[in-house]
């Protein structure tokens, strides 16, 4: 008699424990699946960001940046003036286009800030430094600066150049 009672109790304990573990497992699998999806989107965004930075910075160096102009209407446009040409970087809420190549943000809640920051800094008598930062917002907050698009350029003052000294977003 006693032995039978223990078996039912054991069965109940077994079912309860297995249910708890299975529930935990399902919860973990769902959260891991979400992390995996987020990571895939973040990774795709990171690849796009790297390609974009490489394309723009290569042009800065090869075509020689001589000036720029920032214009904000519905979207924001940065016009880069090179020695013999110009190219536009168009920033919209969820996509960015440079030289007719568009990259779209995939991460959930991610948008570009349409107010980039820009600085012209004099390094010494001969050289200047240009810094442009296009923030990437997650749910309207700039949580991680590593996700931003950061562009840098050092040029010679004596060469032809036409830069605004600063930029205030309207």
């Amino acid at each position: 008699m006693n032995k039978k009672g223990v078996t039912i109790l054991e069965l109940l304990i077994s079912i309860t424990l297995i249910s708890i573990v299975i529930l935990l497992l399902i919860k973990v699998i769902f959260s891991l699946d979400k992390i995996n999806n987020d990571k895939t989107y973040a990774s795709n965004d990171e690849i796009s960001r790297t390609e974009l930075i490489k394309n723009i910075e290569s042009d800065f160096l090869k075509l020689k940046l001589e000036g720029l102009e920032i214009r904000k209407e519905e979207n924001t446009t940065i016009k880069f003036y090179y020695e013999n040409a110009y190219k536009e970087l168009k920033i919209a809420k969820n996509k960015i286009t440079y030289n007719n190549e568009t990259k779209t943000l995939e991460s959930s809640g991610a948008t570009y800030d349409l107010c980039p920051s820009y600085e012209y800094i004099s390094l010494d008598d001969n050289y200047y430094l240009i810094k442009i930062n296009i923030p990437v917002l997650i749910n309207n907050e700039n949580t991680r600066v590593e996700d931003d698009i950061n562009l840098t350029y050092i040029g010679l003052k004596k060469e032809n150049n036409n830069y605004p000294l600063n930029y205030v977003c309207p």
């Binding site: 077994s14 573990v21 930075i53 390094l123």
Partner: protein
Amino acid sequence: MKKGFALLETLIVITFLIVSLLLLYGTFSNMLSNSKKNILYDNASNIYKAYYVKEYLNLGSLQDIETNDIREITCNEINISGCDTLLNELEIKKLYIANINLKEYDKEKYTSSLNNYLDTLSNNSNNKYRLILEFNNQDILAFASIEIGDIYE
């Protein structure tokens, strides 16, 4: 006899499930830490910053820096007036010159973040040194490096 095994069997199953969970978690945490490395180590904009620092500070010609391991360099050693401004504007906290074939060095002299970054670098190159930049932005340390030596000149 058989009836008494229910609890033991359950415990075995639970142990198996927990081990599987831990393995799964371990795999994912590895993936997450790799993705962190992708962002903090050698990201595109920091590599371009390293290139500009190397060019502006004329570090490509620093062949007389004899170091078998790694050493920090400061603006005082580099006689270029805009050095401090440049490092400050690019949020560069420290500059190091390291031997490409960095094998044994005094790890205790450097932070664990730098040591972890150095562990990821390849020593397969014809150049002799590399310039390493340590960025400090919102208390997050990021690193980037660029080789210096004859090939780039």
